[in-house]
């Protein structure tokens, strides 16, 4: 009696209903990862079941530094940005000058809302003059689409369609070469090239390899259409057998990235779309990304706000690297000035096996960490057998990265 006429059902939409049965689906590599997951130690990465560790958190870390480590980066959000205005569009929304990014190159960048607060950081791959891939931690489709109005450009989310692997560590180049990726030694840091895979030198099964990574080590990232993911995994594992290749989980990677001084969105800063408390919003200058800002390239999102904040000295925070005396990690410790005035918080910390130092990333309230860098302390609450051992340790502001490995940028890459 009261119904409006029925609309033809969408079969594709109906077919997707069943997702509610699997709240943490796997990635295209899941069969291989499951087979190696001896710790069954999972975490939720952007809605996927991702390994926190696979067999031994510490040894997985050493695989990055001494061998070759394979890490599934498929859950990373990926957007295809393509069209005649793709460069102009990306220049309009990101901080760096995209005109300086040549086809076949990658750069690390960030983007802000209109108030100049950081929405996310990520990597921008220029796959051709008119085709880009934007990779990030968070999701931004409404913002990208709304920003694209007036530009001749297509923005499409391709997170599920494209599988990704990070192959990191001193033997990573040798693994790729032995796996038959011809001329891969020509890739310099931040270069991208396409390689044949699964018997096809063209079309959909090609692998895109970039000399990039999140470890500060020699390393590569490989992207492949999801249906060719398993064969790529097998190809690498087979070739890497004698080079010590190991699959790893996030805990190991997180150590490596900290030594490399790299920040993680929503761990070291809160992204603007997720900041419920307005005082958690951060401008690029407040999280160590000021270097990206290119005022010569014309208008970009947040520009006016950033210019004004710099002019009026309204940048309230600063993100710094700290070297802390002793060897007890200062994770989430408070930072004090003269042991009494609270001036900030440590967001990531570890004792670094590579630097042989106790390192940390911290956010401080300016002028501390900016013009006042002496007499800084961290108060470490180390829980030991149900008691806090409270330690007040001296902290020194040091430049990031905490380690610098020549092999990361060496050309040609070394054959370990």
């Amino acid at each position: 009696m009261n119904q409006q006429p029925a609309i033809a059902p969408s079969t594709a939409r109906a077919a997707a209903q069943s997702h509610f049965r699997t709240l943490r689906p796997g990635t295209p590599f899941q069969p291989r990862i499951d087979a190696l997951a001896r710790t069954n130690d999972w975490y939720n990465w952007a809605g996927y079941r991702a390994p926190h560790s696979l067999w031994d958190e510490e040894l997985e870390y050493f695989a990055i530094r001494s061998q070759a480590a394979l890490f599934d980066i498929s859950p990373m959000t990926k957007y295809r940005v393509e069209g005649p205005d793709a460069e102009a569009f990306l220049n309009r929304i990101t901080l760096r000058d995209v005109a300086k990014l040549k086809p076949g190159r990658v750069h690390y960048t960030a983007w802000c809302d209109d108030e100049g607060f950081v929405l996310d950081d990520g990597t921008l791959f220029r796959l051709s003059p008119t085709r880009f891939r934007l990779c990030s931690q968070e999701r931004h489709l409404p913002w990208l689409l709304d920003s694209a109005i007036g530009f001749e450009v297509i923005v499409e989310e391709e997170t599920e369609a494209v599988a990704g692997l990070a192959l990191q560590g001193p033997t990573s180049f040798a693994v790729l070469r032995d796996a038959g990726f011809a001329d891969v030694e020509r890739l310099k840091i931040f270069d991208i090239a396409e390689f044949p895979h699964d018997g096809s030198s063209q079309g959909t099964s090609r692998v895109t390899i970039s000399r990039t990574g999140f470890t500060g080590d020699l390393g590569y990232e490989l992207f492949v259409p999801a249906e060719h993911a398993l064969s790529l995994w097998d190809r690498l594992m087979l070739a890497g057998e004698l080079r010590g290749i190991r699959a790893i989980g996030y805990a190991a990677l997180n150590r490596a990235r900290l030594e490399a001084g790299l920040i993680v969105a929503n761990a070291d800063f809160v992204t603007a779309v997720h900041a419920v408390r307005p005082n958690r919003l951060r401008m690029p200058d407040e999280i160590g990304l000021g270097f990206m800002i290119d005022f010569d390239k014309g208008h970009f999102n947040g520009r006016r706000a950033i210019v004004s904040a710099r002019a009026k000295k309204r940048l309230r925070h600063v993100l710094v690297g700290l070297e802390i005396e002793g060897n007890i990690p200062a994770e989430h410790a408070m930072v004090y000035y003269r042991k009494s005035q609270e001036v900030g918080l440590v967001s990531a910390a570890m004792w670094s096996p590579m630097a042989k130092r106790n390192i940390a990333i911290a956010s401080l309230a300016r002028p501390f960490g900016d013009t006042i860098v002496d007499d800084l302390w961290v108060e470490i609450y180390a829980m030991r057998e149900l008691q806090y051992q409270k330690l007040m340790k001296r902290a020194k502001v040091v430049p990031r990265p905490f380690i610098k490995l020549d092999r990361r940028t060496a050309n040609p890459p070394a054959d370990f």
């Binding site: 009261n2 119904q3 997707a16 509610f20 809605g47 989310e157 307005p278």
Partner: protein
């Protein structure tokens, strides 16, 4: 003759909350209730053998945990079972579900729009920011901006400081939120009609406004401020029906020494020399009390229970103009088996949550058009739940109780009173709609209770059957609820207080009006309030 320290008119949840707090402060309190049972709009009634009906309110989330704790409601039997989500059925044989898991929620929305799926985070952030601003106000008496008492100034300052703590952008959003329509608000985030319809329903529930009427955005916010045992934003079923809330309150009240008289309808409040002295029951019996607290809505209290000559004319005019319009009804159904919805997979958690059939903003607004024309909606908006999917105590094994909240239902049909034929036509609009999505639904019906505004007003006592005891639009909130100058639970009559949902912060089985009123009364009596927990922190 005995004189009670306080007489509470009406054994609804707010009346009982109020009575509990007063009794625990050492007062000798009597609750008088016109029905043969307590509960008001939070009841479980066995209307057909073996089936308990949550025949008025039907889900629980907003009830303040501070009150549950103070009044030891878990000890007196209150248990709320959270459910996992719900869905809007679409006319193409599909549905859009709401899942509690963040990523399941995104994947579900992405079936309809990838863009809108990713827009949810910004929407959630903005709604959360607004909730964080308002939530601390729920358990505080609203300041009187015309008063210069230190406490009012302090409270105004608190409000002002909280507002000043917002960024310029947020202040703008707050003002917009409190005044704009839910449709316009959702347009700022979403593009897909069914996605908007899914969120909009919280903006129109219990309100005689359509999704395109200004002021409905706040109503949505009101429904986001709840929790189930600390799970923020969750909704659940009270085990044993919504009567479990008031049964626990009544048990708590009696355990602390309070007295309840059911079947005791109040005819009027006795007022001598401008002060309330007690009540006279419909039977003619007079009961003396040092003060009187009314759980009835502001219109019923001051237009029916108090003589007009005792009230200032401007107050009376404002009470008459208070918007408490009838906009909804209930159809409560006993089923001999669980209805099937071919659109839903058989193992879908949606069966255990809230289900709706209005999949477009236009259908929602058209449903409101019927209300404006003085008719019930031909294509109504339903909020339908089957609590027996999670609570086996409400029906015999294998059988189910279904609650359908139905909107819109006008207070009068084409200008005349509701007739039994109208009521049957109203019920048929509901059964027809469900049957469109659930073949064979009619054959499962064992018993049905249909409540139009006529029945809700007559049986529960809510004027026009308005579930909130007055609409939750900004002109009727905070220090304007129910009327300016009387937002602090007091009335023009000394010793006569209000504690129902007509007062700040409004309806939704929250308990906060009853508790806040008790705090004011105890303050007037210079009694301690140590037994009242402060509002939970919002940090």
């Amino acid at each position: 003759m005995k004189s009670w320290d306080a007489i509470v008119i009406g054994g609804g949840h707010n009346g009982l909350v109020n009575a509990c707090y007063l009794q625990r402060a050492g007062l000798d309190v009597l609750v008088v209730e016109k029905n043969g049972w307590v509960g008001g709009a939070a009841t479980s009634r066995e209307l057909t053998p073996g089936f308990l009906y949550s025949n008025c309110s039907y889900v629980c989330s907003l009830f303040r945990p501070e009150i549950m704790r103070d009044l030891e409601l878990p000890r007196f039997g209150l248990q709320v079972i959270a459910y996992e989500g719900g869905a809007v059925f679409t006319r193409d044989g599909d549905y859009l579900a709401n899942y509690r898991d963040h990523d399941a929620h995104r994947r579900e929305f992405a079936r309809f729009s990838r863009r809108d799926a990713e827009a949810y985070d910004r929407y959630a952030r903005d709604v959360t920011r607004q909730c964080r601003f308002i939530q601390p106000l729920l358990m505080r008496t609203a300041p009187d901006p015309t008063s210069f008492r230190p406490r009012d100034l302090g409270e105004l300052l608190y409000l002002g400081k909280k507002f000043a703590g917002l960024s310029a952008e947020e202040m703008a959003l707050t003002l917009r939120f409190w005044t704009m329509s839910i449709s316009d608000f959702l347009d700022e985030y979403f593009e897909t009609d069914v996605v908007k319809a899914n969120f909009a329903l919280s903006g129109i529930i219990g309100t005689a406004l359509g999704p395109m009427s200004p002021g409905t955005a706040y109503v949505l916010l009101h429904h986001y401020m709840g929790e189930v045992d600390g799970s923020v934003g969750a909704w659940g079923y009270a085990r044993g029906g919504m009567g479990a809330v008031t049964q626990a309150l009544a048990a708590s009240f009696e355990a602390s020494g309070g007295t309840i008289r059911t079947g005791a309808e109040v005819d009027h409040v006795t007022i001598r020399r401008g002060k309330a002295r007690g009540v006279v029951l419909a039977s003619g019996e007079e009961i003396h009390g040092k003060l009187v607290v009314s759980n009835a809505d502001v219109k019923r209290t001051f237009l029916k229970l108090v003589e007009e000559r005792e009230l200032p004319d401007i107050f009376l005019r404002r009470v008459r103009n208070f918007r408490i319009r009838g906009s909804s009804g209930k159809v409560n159904i006993a089923l001999d088996s669980l209805p099937e919805f071919p659109a839903l997979p058989k193992d879908s958690p949606v069966y255990r949550g809230d289900m709706h059939f209005t999949d477009s903003m236009e259908r929602m607004e058209r449903a409101y058009d019927d209300w404006k024309a003085g008719r019930w909606s031909a294509d109504p908006f339903l909020d339908m739940v089957i609590p027996t999917t999670l609570d086996p105590t409400m029906a015999p094994s294998g059988k189910h109780f279904m609650s359908c909240f139905v909107q819109y239902a006008p207070p009068k049909v084409n200008g005349g009173d509701w007739t039994d034929a109208d009521r049957d036509g109203f019920a048929e609009s509901v059964i027809a709609q469900i049957s469109d999505y659930s073949p064979g639904f009619r054959n499962r019906i064992v018993h049905m209770e249909v409540r139009t505004p006529r029945e809700i007003e007559a049986e529960v006592g809510l004027t026009e059957g308005n579930i909130f005891q007055g609409e939750l639009t900004f002109d009727q909130l905070l220090f304007n609820r129910p009327v300016p100058g009387y937002a602090q639970y007091r009335s023009p009559v000394a010793g006569l207080y209000m504690c129902g949902s007509s007062t700040h912060p409004g309806g939704g089985v929250m308990g906060a009006p009853g508790r806040n009123a008790a705090a004011e009364i105890l303050s007037d009596l210079a009694k301690p309030t140590k037994h009242m927990s402060p509002a939970h922190d919002v940090i």
